[in-house]
Symmetry: C2
Subunit: 717 residues, 2 copies
């Protein structure tokens, strides 16, 4: 008994100390954080001030990334990988900006970053009450989900009517509980200013991805323009640089080990308030399944491109994307195991249950809560394999993805705008089509076929109770592999969906007109469409059941722990703070928190992704460090490591020092910190940024762009 008490005490201490270090704080919480005690040396109102201008006004969303204004003339500093797509699409065989980098010698030479927008947060307000008013007693689970989604669409439409030119979005802060309406301005004329070559900006590539120590110059400069009257406008030579309400001061001195830092950015999604049932599902089913599938798919694609550079180029971005996910999932699996997360969550839940059961009123209200959540996941497990196949079928075969999107579009686009799935609403459909056409460029039949065959084979091996009847009928019982081969022979011989013209036209056709094509992939999509509709309903039902349970869980956890919670990341602006700090990734190894040019030289092999430009090596050899040397290390700092709380979406976020000056650009997490999505770990949660001294040193000494330093107010010597 004494042991149990001790375990309980230990767990509570663990929960609390765990939360003490973590936090992706929403704007509304910033003023209550006592950041001065943590090390901040300016008034917190200078970070966020709803009544005036503050640092957060310098923070923007650019693509899926964060960026920040660093000059009065709309200059934005973000990651290299955030500008990658723009640099790639601006490249030609003669001007390869990925390989050679890009520097605009003057404003006139800046080139449009096609498809890029810069989003500025204008205001936000709580709309939980209005959203939840859509729910009426007696609604079934699926109806509840749909009602909330519909209400959100209405709120967004109204807000956009009331604020012409702005874009509205409703973010769910606590699942099933709190909703916030954000108003954004989108600026559409974004241009490339300076992008270092891939051999600096992507140095280390996949091998170093999710890893510390890092030596990647993952930064780029963009500039945003507006119409001469200051309003957002598409690209025009007449446009003028945007003057932001606020821009960040750059601190060319940088920071050192132990210094306080904080980050403002748009972290994407975390799952900290989920239960042990969720984590067990992730650990036992989803993560290993997807990691193994991607591992195999990557090998298929690499083999296909092995002796054919053109084929390899078609596969590169998919290989990169899947490798990124696979390594992330492997890191998460390591973290789940090392930190015994499921077990710890279970112990937490046991303690919570004991707290609930100790009071009859509480027991009446929450007594069955955890068990009910457990049942939802139990049900989810029963169709997990089937649903994974349905989800990864369009992700594996491009042709099937085109077909399913075309067939869906023809159904959804027939409905009134507000009733459509978001991807097919007028405001989003251009983006949806653009993605399909991009995927068509990378289409390669032999690979598509291998991956589709594999998914169909997996479907043919599903256990009883999870079978997909449509596919069973197509494939039959005898020798599924031979049957699939015959089927695919016929389908690939006949389909027209490998033609851009056809796909483009088909994306605008009503269901009836699609029949003319009689395309085998569209026919397959048509046959599977009801299955996907049923899956959608299953998920609406489950969400409708789970969300109110999770809302109640947060309620009772608050009573138990007597503290405020930070909502999970959801793509909205957050602050996180910490210190420049190393860690021990494993026994007898310590990672120091500042990497230097020494490591660039050590890693350089001359072969991609470790092919540092000769000019950069010459600068290092000459020790031409300018004013950017960290004396203690006798070199220019390249990467920095810090224990703030970040996740995907924080890419490009400015790292700010105790005085709110920019000292680096966030771009990754350490391998062990992939676990951040599930739990913050004092031991392992470390984020990775490129040091401002490396940014400035490369820009000045390698890029030769003194004027950019001057624009940022950085003295040249």
């Amino acid at each position: 008994m004494r042991l149990r008490g001790f375990v309980l005490l230990f767990l509570i201490v663990w929960i609390v100390s765990g939360l003490a270090g973590e936090g992706m704080w929403p704007l509304s919480e910033i003023r209550q954080l006592d950041l001065k005690k943590k090390g901040l040396k300016i008034d917190p109102s200078r970070i966020y001030n709803p009544q005036g201008v503050s640092l957060i006004d310098a923070i923007v969303k650019v693509g899926g990334c964060t960026g920040s204004f660093v000059s009065p003339n709309g200059l934005i500093l973000t990651n290299h990988h955030c500008a990658y797509r723009a640099a790639q699409s601006a490249s030609t065989p003669e001007h390869d900006y990925i390989r050679n980098g890009f520097l605009a010698a003057s404003r006139e030479e800046e080139i449009p970053a096609k498809g890029y927008t810069v989003r500025i947060t204008e205001s936000y307000r709580d709309v939980s009450e209005e959203v939840l008013s859509a729910v009426t007693p007696g609604m079934d689970f699926a109806a509840r989900t749909r009602a909330i989604q519909r209400k959100i669409k209405e709120i967004v439409a109204r807000a956009e009517r009331e604020h012409p030119g702005k874009r509205a979005e409703v973010a769910e802060m606590f699942i099933g509980k709190t909703y916030v309406l954000f108003l954004y301005t989108y600026l559409k004329d974004v241009r490339l200013v300076y992008v270092p070559p891939r051999s600096i900006g992507e140095f280390g590539g996949e091998e170093d991805n999710w890893m510390w120590p890092r030596h990647t110059g993952d930064f780029s400069f963009l500039r945003v323009y507006v119409a001469p009257d200051g309003s957002p406008a598409e690209y025009s030579p007449q446009n003028v640089p945007y003057h932001p309400r606020k821009y960040l001061q750059v601190n060319p001195q940088g920071v050192d080990e132990g210094d306080f830092v904080f980050i403002l950015g748009y972290p994407g999604r975390t799952y900290r308030h989920r239960t042990s049932y969720f984590l067990a599902f992730e650990e036992e089913i989803r993560l290993p399944c997807v990691a193994n599938l991607y591992d195999w798919q990557i090998r298929v694609m690499e083999k296909a491109g092995q002796n054919d550079r053109e084929v390899m180029l078609k596969h590169l971005s998919r290989i990169k994307g899947r490798a990124n996910v696979m390594k992330n999932y492997r890191g998460k699996l390591l973290g789940l195991k090392r930190l015994h997360l499921v077990e710890r969550k279970r112990e937490e839940e046991k303690a919570l249950q004991a707290f609930i059961d100790a009071d009859p009123a509480r027991k009446a209200k929450y007594g069955e809560l955890l068990a009910a959540i457990g049942r939802v996941y139990q049900e989810r497990r029963q169709s997990a394999q089937r649903n994974l196949i349905l989800d990864y079928l369009p992700r594996s075969s491009n042709l099937f993805n085109f077909a399913l999107t075309i067939y869906r579009a023809s159904n959804e686009r027939a409905k009134p705008d507000l009733e459509r799935e978001p991807a097919f609403m007028d405001r989003n459909y251009p983006r949806t089509k653009e993605r399909i056409l991009l995927a068509l460029k990378d289409y390669y039949e032999p690979t598509d076929r291998i991956l589709l065959k594999d998914m169909l084979l997996r479907a043919s091996r599903l256990p009883e109770g999870q079978r997909i009847q449509v596919l069973d009928e197509m494939i039959g019982q005898e020798d599924p592999e031979a049957a699939i081969d015959r089927l695919l022979d016929a389908m690939y011989a006949r389909t027209m969906l490998n033609k851009e013209r056809i796909v483009y036209a088909a994306l605008e056709q009503p269901v009836e007109s699609l029949k003319i094509l009689d395309d085998p992939f569209i026919n397959l999509a048509k046959n599977l469409y009801p299955v996907y509709q049923e899956l959608k309903k299953e998920r609406e039902r489950r969400k409708g059941e789970l969300d109110p349970l999770l809302a109640k869980l947060v309620e009772v956890k608050k009573q138990f722990l007597q503290k405020k919670f930070v909502p999970d990341a959801n793509g909205t602006l957050r602050l996180t703070y910490g210190h420049i700090r190393g860690y021990s990734p494993r026994d007898a190894v310590y990672y120091q928190p500042i990497s230097t040019l020494r490591g660039v030289v050590e890693k350089t092999t001359g072969e991609e992704p470790f092919d540092t430009p000769a000019d950069l090596l010459a600068l290092i050899e000459k020790k031409d460090f300018g004013r950017f040397q960290l004396k203690r290390l006798g070199s220019v700092p390249v990467g920095i490591l810090y224990d703030t709380d970040t996740t995907g979406g924080n890419s490009g976020s400015p790292i700010l020092d105790a005085r709110g000056r920019l000292i680096g650009v966030n771009f990754d997490r350490a391998f062990e910190a992939t676990i951040n999505d599930y739990a913050w770990s004092e031991e392992y949660s470390r984020s990775i940024g490129v040091d401002i001294r490396y940014v400035l040193w490369v820009t000045q000494k390698f890029g030769g762009a003194d004027w950019l330093l001057q624009e940022m107010g950085v003295p040249l010597k």
Copy 2:
């Protein structure tokens, strides 16, 4: 000019500071080292005392390893990998001592370590004058080499006559310059006492080999027996434990970071006194060639064994051996590059040349020295590819190796004993035969054929001037691959050398009798024999030319640097000292010098080679650390790292603390320290040992062998 002066000064400082940290000191130097100043807390005469008993009397050579007596009853502590062969050959399918480990519950249960001997150093004396007296003016280079070898054989034979029962060996200390005669006692009844299971003793396997942090329990206990009258004897149940003149005290407290340690052992071979020409040859030619060849051969063998455990078992020891060499060579290549060793040696030699040229008398004597050495290596390069093929032909094909050994034996064994190549002298021939028969057990035709074909193909692609005529005639000019295939079809169909009976008989036949076999492999060996004889002569010539030059080089370097040199390692007893000390293997990474049980748990996957026994994990889980915990780390230390100067052959060496007590067993070096063979590096030269606390903890808590601790005088609690 000022820069040049600075460079020179820097180099001299570098050379001196480099030497300051290094040193595998021979016994004769120990008393001049001022070890007390370095941290030793006992009188150096307790380490080595030619007039009495000292610590070195506790040091033995066992197999190719070092070991030490740790009890008055002949108990020896050495590495697991040093007892591996004995444990393997004592194993049966029912009693797998590799998998399960072995513990003799009493002395009666100790089992013979077949083929093992324990060598004790009895005395040594300088015989340089006598050896070099064999050289007469006007001798050509090859004759010089042969004369010295012949003289050494005579000295050995005489010494063994004068000291019956002892074995004599002459070691070359400085090449071409100093020779020492050692007298050894060999004890032949060696028995296994405690060998932990492979999952402890080999934990980490090839993956962790040459790597820190390490968590391998690489230790074992043996015991040596003698006849009841105390004389060396073959195994007999009547034998009694040997009472060594000296045994080491075990210090169960161990050491901590920064503590002084020293090592006594038999380091194999180093090349520190060689020139830049030697290092450039290694870096540019030999190391990359062999590493790449082995890399490919390992993959061939792994593929062969992929789906066939029996085939895999035949290949395992060769795979292991080649992987070990390959990783060592790759480490050396990394070190050569990182430390710019060739360049540094060249700068050293430039400075030396300037010193030589500054004095007319010196210039007359040594002026051409470096150039002459350079010419020898230039010549060596001209036949390098050809000679590599000749060297690796028998190492690649077992059958060809058997054939060549058989044919050589029939030639050599016909000569008087003293004129034979050492491997075929009576005192060594049993060992030579044993090796061939061991290799026969691992023979697997498909692999043998693939590797032989590859070597013959390489031979067919040799450049003009390096061609091997015998092979050219065999293979012909047209389509060498097809010709080789036809040739090998015939050879493998006809050969009898895959039969133990035949090989065994053939190893004792005169040349004439071999003809009866008409074996295609023996015929090939016969045809190539003159080529190998010519290669031998080429090497004798080169050695005869190079050795006196290297002797002169040491002479003039001593004048230049005004200091004593430590001779290169040559398998004789040496002392090296240093401290428990971490290092930075690369930018922003620091390796701490003590690993713990935490790492054992972290690395454990359940799959070989990371399959820690469940009982051991349970002990860790329970924190049942007994008296072996290092409080500061809250765990039992497993591995220790220290900056002493070691190389291969130091395996099993005792690591001793400032008071001369045993605190660990040396077994490996860090990856970056593979460079030790060429140069000692303050930054990277670190050796790896198993901590005595882990040895004792495993032996007591996991092995349950309290009595062994008691025998060593270690209190149980």
